[in-house]
């Protein structure tokens, strides 16, 4: 659905996006993470054909962003960084205006508008001008606009920024439901918890380059090293030797607990448990220590100037 090959963009002598390779299939959500000015919005704007790539190629919904720009724009729903609303209009007029632009027949427009207003809890606001809306309502309206023509590709720039928790939850659920409708979605966000919750794949962009990409699990493994596990014992260890198999490295030790790392958890962890139980250790709990996307992100960004870790596939 979205394929880019060495996509790059220069602004005069500044390289804003540098050889970005992305591949998002139908039904997938890619979270594009990166610090401010990293190139997220520029990438999205190239995918919406508003910016012309300096080099490389990009195909959206099967269309080339340079030669089939109008078809690309028809196939894409965009939630822009700025809401792009007309303050003097009413919500029904606004959505109807964009419905006409997207060539939707009147009846379909009406049905779709009602559905989206209901979905985003905006039905009560139809009699107020858009200028009187709160930030969260404006964000929801922008999202409704981007979904109006049921596009197969969605590009969402900061979809839940400025929203209260309840509205943000509503929008996140909406995005999840869109994924199940076989849409390809790119979400640009600073909200790492949101990315973790929504995305099938994550790409971290820094200074215009994709510095890390893959599934959350792959990134954790690649950036933070082997998984780390916690074992809680029933009694104090009292300096007793632990009969651990080779390949297990203890990273921290307490009076009645240990943390260890292992490269092949599927094979080694059952052995660890078996050895300990056989040796008479009373194991209460074994669990993987949760490593947040934040640690993955910070590790990637800190490492960025030194090496490019991976390209998105």
């Amino acid at each position: 659905m979205i394929v880019t090959n060495n996509l790059s963009k220069n602004f005069k002598d500044v390289r804003a996006v540098d050889q970005v390779n992305l591949h998002v299939r139908a039904g997938e959500v890619l979270a594009l993470l990166g610090p401010n000015g990293a190139g997220k919005t520029t990438t999205v704007r190239m995918l919406t054909t508003v910016l012309r790539p300096s080099s490389g190629t990009a195909h959206v919904a099967g269309y080339d962003v340079i030669t089939d720009a109008v078809k690309v724009r028809s196939a894409v729903g965009v939630l822009t960084e700025e809401h792009g609303l007309y303050d003097r209009m009413y919500i029904l007029e606004y959505l109807d205006f964009f419905g006409q632009i997207y060539d939707m027949p009147a009846e379909e427009r009406e049905g779709r508008i009602q559905y989206l207003l209901d979905k985003f809890d905006l039905l009560d606001a139809v009699n107020r001008r858009i200028g009187q809306y709160s930030k969260g309502m404006r964000q929801k309206l922008s999202l409704a606009r981007s979904l109006l023509h049921s596009p197969p590709v969605l590009l969402l720039d900061e979809p839940t920024s400025a929203m209260d928790p309840a509205s943000a939850r509503l929008v996140r659920n909406a995005i999840k439901s869109l994924r199940s409708e076989d849409r390809a979605i790119i979400v640009c966000t600073h909200n790492l918890a949101e990315a973790e919750e929504l995305a099938d794949k994550i790409a971290i962009i820094c200074s215009g380059k994709i510095i890390a990409s893959g599934t959350y699990e792959e990134l954790k493994q690649r950036l933070l090293g082997p998984g780390e596990y916690h074992i809680q014992f029933a009694e104090n260890l009292d300096n007793r030797d632990l009969p651990l198999p080779s390949g297990v490295e203890i990273t921290e030790k307490g009076t009645d607990w240990i943390h260890y790392q292992v490269t092949e958890p599927k094979e080694i962890n059952p052995l660890v448990l078996q050895n300990l139980v056989t040796a008479g250790f009373a194991v209460v709990r074994v669990e993987e220590i949760k490593r947040s996307l934040e640690s993955v992100y910070l590790q990637a960004v800190n490492q960025a100037p030194l090496e490019e870790i991976n390209h998105v596939d």
Binding site: V50, R52, V70, T80, R88, M89, I101
Partner: protein, 476 residues
């Protein structure tokens, strides 16, 4: 085209509705539509009464149609304000990106905005004309001639089109509303001059001349619309560049375009000078056609404004040449001073033509350049009428230096045509500013390396050789 218009009308309808909700737009339109024509009615009544006392009804006869044109113009002046912020205003309000990301084409988006800013003030203009006509009919019983009424309505329409199309070009190319307002003087000043001209025509009562004004403005509006669409750039509209004058960047662009493809001098000349000249071939052809047309127009005028044969004493031209040469002001033949005077005159003429060409899509520049050819055509035809061979006339007075000067002028004309065409030609690679600087670099390169040397040589020939040839041909 129909699909383009249909889609454009979606934008137009939204924008018109938006304008009608803004009291800052509605209030002046209402005032200029209803109150101002009333004031003009009062003025017309007072003028008619006043001049009647002195038996000069002609003044009233001319004033009433003039005021008809004025009441038609005032409401459309509002369109300038709306048009100036059509694109850049949306950019500042950050509402333009969803529109740019929509499946509208550049033409649809541009035409939609253009029509939106033109329609309300134009309808107001027609209303104002109606209000004025009803009032003036009731007060003094004046009814306009049908043709005059059509002309005034057409004038209001094309004036609105010119102002709006110019303002939308500015709005789509500037980075802030403030910058757009500052650049508006490029529209206001020419329009003010045009209005003065039209007013003179109205008082002169040569109403048929108004058709030329209407036709001319229609062409200018078409060129402006074409320019706007050709250089409409979604990327530029989203850019966040500041309104600062980046001379360093402009100089770098100019320098790199001027130098072109580097290499040994011969290769450089072939690539960058000869290459540019080759790229000018169609412009050169057009310039030749224009100069020939100019000469023919000039020679045709000899039929209208002929000089009696007895005033031209070709038999004694040798004496006239000798005494005449001594009396031609600062021009000293057979002197370096004379050479520099002629060169300076020619340089001034091509500089003026280029400057005028910049502000008129090349049209005024070309007119300036073909004027001398019209004069040559005129005198050649006069020579023929009065018994002298036109070829002898050309050989004696024009060809010796014209052999270099004419190509130089034609090349200048070709460069001016290119300057004009640059604006109306789409260019996806460069911005309008960058395209301009690059064309200016081409202009400078050809001026410095081809045209000025040609003019220097022509001035030398004109001072040292042409008089000798003329004396030789016309001597007894």
């Amino acid at each position: 085209m129909w699909i383009n218009l249909q889609k454009a009308m979606i934008i137009t309808r939204r924008e018109v509705r938006d304008q009608l909700r803004d009291w800052r737009i509605i209030a002046p339109i209402i005032i200029l539509t209803i109150l101002f024509p009333g004031l003009m009615n009062f003025t017309a009544q007072q003028a008619v009464d006043f001049v009647a006392k002195y038996g000069a009804p002609i003044i009233a006869d001319r004033l009433i149609p003039f005021l008809l044109m004025v009441v038609g113009f005032f409401p459309i002046s509002v369109s300038l304000v709306i048009a100036l912020e059509s694109f850049v205003g949306e950019k500042e309000r950050r509402s333009i990106e969803p529109l740019l990301s929509s499946p509208l084409s550049d033409v649809q988006l541009y035409l939609g905005k253009l029509m939106a800013v033109m329609f309300p003030p134009l309808i107001a203009s027609y209303l104002a004309i109606s209000v004025y006509l009803v009032g003036v009919y009731r007060q003094v019983g004046w009814v306009p001639d049908t043709i005059l009424l059509i002309q005034v309505i057409a004038l209001a329409t094309v004036q609105s089109l010119v102002m709006v199309s110019g303002a939308v070009v500015i709005s789509s190319q500037t980075t802030s509303v403030r910058a757009a307002n500052l650049l508006a003087s490029f529209i206001i000043v020419p329009m003010a001059l045009l209005l003065v001209g039209e007013s003179m025509i109205m008082f002169w009562a040569r109403y048929h001349v108004l058709w030329y004004a209407i036709f001319g403005q229609l062409i200018v509006a078409w060129l402006l619309i074409r320019t706007g669409i050709a250089h409409f750039n979604r990327e530029e509209l989203l850019g966040r560049e500041l309104d600062t004058l980046n001379l360093q960047w402009a100089w770098q662009v100019f320098k790199s375009a001027f130098i072109g493809v580097p290499g040994p001098f011969r290769v450089w000349w072939r690539m960058n000078v000869w290459g540019t000249l080759k790229s000018l071939k169609w412009s050169i052809l057009l310039a030749i056609i224009f100069t020939l047309a100019g000469s023919l127009i000039g020679s045709a005028q000899a039929e209208v404004f002929s000089i009696p044969a007895d005033l031209l004493d070709w038999e004694n031209i040798e004496d006239g040449l000798v005494t005449g040469i001594e009396e031609i002001g600062p021009i000293r033949f057979f002197s370096i001073q004379g050479t520099s005077v002629i060169l300076f005159h020619n340089l001034r003429a091509i500089a003026l033509a280029s400057l005028l060409g910049i502000f008129s899509f090349g049209v005024l520049g070309i007119i300036t350049l073909i004027l001398p050819f019209s004069i040559i055509g005129y005198f050649t035809a006069i020579a023929g009428q009065t018994g002298l061979s036109p070829w002898k006339f050309l050989l004696g007075f024009v060809i010796p230096h014209g052999i270099l000067e004419v190509p130089a002028i034609i090349l200048t004309g070709a460069l001016i045509i290119r300057l004009g065409l640059t604006l109306v030609t789409p260019n996806e690679e460069y911005t309008i500013g960058e395209t301009w600087i690059r064309t200016l670099a081409d202009w400078t390169r050809i001026m410095l390396l081809v045209i000025i040397p040609l003019l220097m040589a022509a001035a030398f020939l004109e001072v040292y050789i042409t008089p000798l040839v003329a004396l030789n041909i016309f001597s007894h």
